[in-house]
Structure formats: C-alpha cells, structure tokens
C-alpha cells in the first residue's frame, strides 16, 4: 500500500541544515495498522506529512515514497491532490484548529463529498449523516447544524474522523489523535478507530509519543529517535522482546497505575541531540545507560534478526554481553 524507501528529509534553517528524517524504510500493507512512536523532535510527524506529500517548500527530500504503486514525488501538485481523501487521509492532534470555526460541521463534511466525489448536495447530506452515525455521534441530524465550538473535544475529533473517512480512504494517518483529549475520551476514540479500520478494511498509521496508546491498536510499531527508526517489529514481539535501550527507557518512563506512591519515576536523562549538528556515533549514546566506547564513535546500522525484528544497536537488550 505505502512504501517508504531510504527517505531523507532536511530543512534549511538559519542555523544550517536540519536533518529531520534519516534513511527511513517502512512499508504498510493493505488493512495493516502501524504505530510510529517517538518523542517531540523525533521526526515522526515530518515522516507522516512527507508520505502524504505535505512537506513545506523549505524541505529537501531524497528517497522514495510509493503509494498504491505511484511515486509521490514524481506526481504534480494536482495529481497528489487526487490521492487525498480517496487514497490517503489524515486526522490531526488538535481538532479545534483543524476544523473551520465559522462553518457548520455538516458543510465541512459535505465539502469533500461534493468536490471529490461529485455527489449532489442531497446525497452528500445523507452520507454525512451516515458518517456521523458511524463515528457514534448521538443525533447526527442535529450535529450537522452545529459549529465546532459547540462540540466537546472528543466530539470534534469524531467529526474530524468522519471528514477523513468521507471518501473511503485506503490509508488513514492519525497524528497524535488523542493527545489533546481526556483519558476516558482517548480510550473511546482509540476503540472507535480500531473498529472503523476493521469495518472499512483500511490501513492506518498511528503517530504518538505514548507506547501505551499504540499497544492495543496496532499490528506493527516503528520507534523513532532523532530522525531514525531505531526499532521496528510486530507489536507483540516489540513488547515481549525489546532490543533497543531507547525503547526500554521510553517504556519505563510511562507513569502507571502500578507505580508505588511516593516513588521517583524513571526518566531518560539528557536531551535529543541537536539535529543541525551530526554526530559520529549512535544518536542515543549520550543518554544510554549501556553505552560503550564503540557506541560513541561508530554509527550502528539497522540489524534484522531471524524473525524480522529490526533494531539499531551494537549491544541489544537480551543478547549475551
């Protein structure tokens, strides 16, 4: 469905070239769901925007993005537009700023239907009501007439999902879809996305900083750090046998219900490396509790073990030291 090969993206900034995505190779099959996990600045959002052909003009890109057999960078602006909605669609972190505050919910959903699918207004309205029902909005006919400001955060995110699903996309990008929401609503939205994906046999890319969010809702997970994929495995395998020290550190830092009260939470010391200053060794070395001399001088390649689990580490967890 979607294939990224050796994708490199950098931005020209006044401090020099900022290398945001470094040599990422991923592929997503039809109906598959993949999680992209990383901290702010890991390149996860840039990666998903690049896949949709939504990069800023200051970006330079090498490598290929192939969607449905077509190379995205070889397409013209209009041809890329053709893939939006029917091919790929995206939902964003903040449903308030992603929706137009002065247009009714109904007209925002119907826009894609009339423009992209050429539906008549009456048909589009019928379909919009059906879509709002699909995303479990109570009383869809009333909801059509509302403005985004009259809806709660969770309801707005449901509207965003309805808009994204309007033209039956084959692939849905969800960029931190629940970060701005309450935990209770987060659980509902994640559940809804999982159900819809199965119902519509759609592929999904779920981008998040929280390993807890992707655990129950994806088939595969790619962990990103400083622009690189540092671990890539099936969800089951990743949680069962973590190889990369960064993934382990990220996992440990999640606050949990089982954390003893009054205890200190484990943290990842230090900061992400400066993306404008390339470093010779492993990018995580300065924060890694297991780092050795080799890690500071040589850059580890992505290694694949016998069952397809990929990691970027000289001294992976669980290996004989």
């Amino acid at each position: 469905m979607l294939k990224l090969e050796n994708l490199e993206i950098s931005f020209a900034t006044n401090r020099g070239s900022l290398h945001a995505v470094k040599g990422v190779t991923l592929d997503i099959a039809a109906g598959e769901s993949i999680g992209i996990v990383g901290e702010s600045g890991s390149g996860k959002t840039v990666l998903s925007r690049a896949s949709m052909g939504l990069l800023a003009p200051t970006a330079t890109r090498t490598g290929t993005v192939t969607f449905d057999g077509k190379e995205i960078s070889s397409l013209s602006r209009d041809e890329v537009r053709e893939t939006w909605g029917t091919g790929m669609a995206m939902i964003f972190q903040d449903p308030m700023t992603a929706l137009n505050p002065v247009r009714r919910v109904g007209s925002q959903i119907m826009e894609g239907l009339t423009v992209r699918l050429g539906m008549s207004k009456a048909d589009a309205r019928k379909r919009a009501i059906e879509l709002l029902g699909r995303v479990r909005i109570p009383d869809p006919e009333q909801a059509l007439k509302k403005f985004p400001g009259q809806l709660s955060g969770g309801m707005r995110q449901r509207v965003m999902i309805a808009i994204a699903l309007a033209c039956n996309p084959k692939l849905l990008f969800a960029d931190e879809p629940t970060t701005a929401l309450d935990v209770t609503v987060q659980a509902q939205i994640l559940q809804l996305l999982s159900e819809l994906r199965k119902e519509l046999n759609m592929s999904m890319v779920l981008v998040t900083h929280d390993l807890g969010v992707v655990a129950g809702h994806t088939d595969k997970i790619a962990v990103m750090y400083a622009g690189e994929v540092v671990e890539y495995a099936t969800t089951k395998d990743l949680f069962a046998r973590m190889r990369m020290p960064y993934t382990e550190a990220l996992m440990k830092s999640i606050p949990r219900l089982s954390t003893p009260s009054g205890s200190r939470l484990p943290v990842i010391e230090g900061r992400l490396p400066d993306p404008t200053k390339p470093e010779p060794g492993c990018l995580f070395a300065s924060r890694c509790p297991y780092a050795q001399e080799k890690c500071r001088t040589q850059h580890p390649d992505l290694t694949t073990d016998s069952d397809g689990h990929q990691y970027r580490c000289f001294f992976p967890l669980g290996a004989a030291q």
Partner: protein, 332 residues
Amino acid sequence: MTTTFDGNTAHLRPADQTLLQIKDLVVEFDLGGGRVVKAVSNVSLDLVEGETLSIVGESGCGKSTLGKAILQLPAPTSGSIVFQGTDITKLSKKDLRNVRPAMQMIFQDPVSSLDPRFPVSRAVEEPLKIWNRGNEIERSAKVDELLNSVGLDPALVRDRRPYEFSGGQCQRISIARALALEPKLLICDEPVSALDVSVQAQILNLLQDMKEAYGLTLIFISHDLSVVKAVSTRIMVMYLGKICEIATPDELYSRPLHHYTSALVGSVPVPDPERKVSATLLEGEPPSPLDPPSGCRFRTRCPAATELCATEEPMLRLAADGHYVACHHPRA
C-alpha cells in the same frame, strides 16, 4: 443565590491541623437569561501541611475552576476557604494581596504562561521585584539559585527567551517563577498534560524534589489517574462539580469503590498488547453542567444506577480507613 449546607464534610480533619480548609465551596457562572453553570457544587476539602492532594476528573468536572477559586480567581460564589487560620474569602483586597505570595500556581501550557518577550531572568525575577524583595544583587542571586534548583544552568539560560526552550524546560522556568516568593501552597493545574511521556516523568520528579526542598503543600490537578499515582498523598475524584471519592492512592487504585473511579482506572492506556480492552469503558460524555441530573450526577452513565440514585443524592461517607465515597451502591 443561597445554598444550604449539605453536610458533605465527613472527610474533613480538625481545622487546627490543616493548612487549608475549604467548606461548601460553590462556583457558579451566570450565562444570562436565567442560565447558571454550576461548575463547583458544595465541595469541601482540606490539606495538611506537606501533603499532596490530587484532584482528578474529566474536562468540565470543575477541577480547574476549583483550583482557581482557591486563589480567588475569580472569588467563589459561596463557601469558606480558610488558609493558615484566615478565611480568605472575607479579606479586603489589600489583605488578600498580602496572602497571595503564599499561594502560587503553575499551568498546563508552559509556553503560553511565560511572556514571550521576557528573558528567563526577568520572568523569574518579576515576582521578587513586585514584592520589593532584596536589592538587585540579592535578587539576581536568588534567580540563579531558583534556576539551579529546577535543573537549569543559569549561565546558559538567563538571557534566553521562552521560544528557545522546549515545553519541559518552559515548565521548569514556570516552576522556578512560582517558587520565587517561597509559597506554602502550590497549585499545579495539569502541569504535564502538554508534555511528552518521557518529559512528564522529569517534571513529576522535579515537583517532588521541590516539595521537599521548599516545604511545599501541593494541589495537583489532572485528568489522568496514572500521572498522579506517584506524587499524591490523597486523591480526590470529581464528577460534574461534586466529589465522588477520596482515598490514598494505593487504596483508590486497588479498591475503587465509585463506579466512575473504576471507569477512570480502566481508561488508562497500558503498554501491553495482550491486555483486553476494559469492559468498564465509559460510554458517552458528561451531561451539561447547566442542567445536571437529579440525585447522583453520575447516574446517567453508571452501570449500577437504580431509582434511588435519581431521587436521592449520595453523601460522602466513610467506607474504610481514610477512604470516603459518595455512592448508594459502591463496588464491592
């Protein structure tokens, strides 16, 4: 509008042991046309010095309004707030101003809570200047001390502006500023919700360190039960302006008695792909605070609701040592 004392004070401790005691606090917002939003309805709570009380609930449950009402921002509609022996709701403007340095607040969005034009040193120094604490040299030394204690290197950060920092660093600067006047009480309103998971842990640890170093008493407001577990001495769960349950963290998580608490516990994402989706996932959203349900406010979403819940409002009562719940049919 007058409110009757509803007796929901079973969980309060003797007033002479507490730093802060709030009784029957009501905050209402008049929308005009006879429509009144009851954001906080008859809430009572208390804090012993050195304690951390966490207030947990969904958006719209009144937790932030409650936090702000304690600081008189704006003043509550009715009820009393006794801080260090004085009812601050009855103070004159001038007297209230003199109490304010002892109560500080940090907010959810650390970037917008700092003035983008102020360098860090000026942001942290401002409270000291307003209160005429020390001369310029002493103030500068105090700023350096505060920045050091929140884990920032004064030499590197003093002259930089907020946009040059990450969200986590901005929250550190906000904490340094809040501590400048050496407050007794620090109210943290969703201090880590806007931050990455990995940075959340750093800020939570920092708040615990600061609590010890500066002898603080904390109120910690959050929508996420997993975040408050490590830092709290007591946790209070709120729903639509009312208290559902109060207990120590270990007690609350191992034995949630209120059905709402149990649903909140079940909503926390767990990094384990084998875990089944919780059966107690909450349906729908909270009803409008303009027209809250009669009786128990949670009954419209509660799996155990009966007729009694619609007619009679449950009172907070003692269920186990230090564990209070407002429910007619608590979970076993």
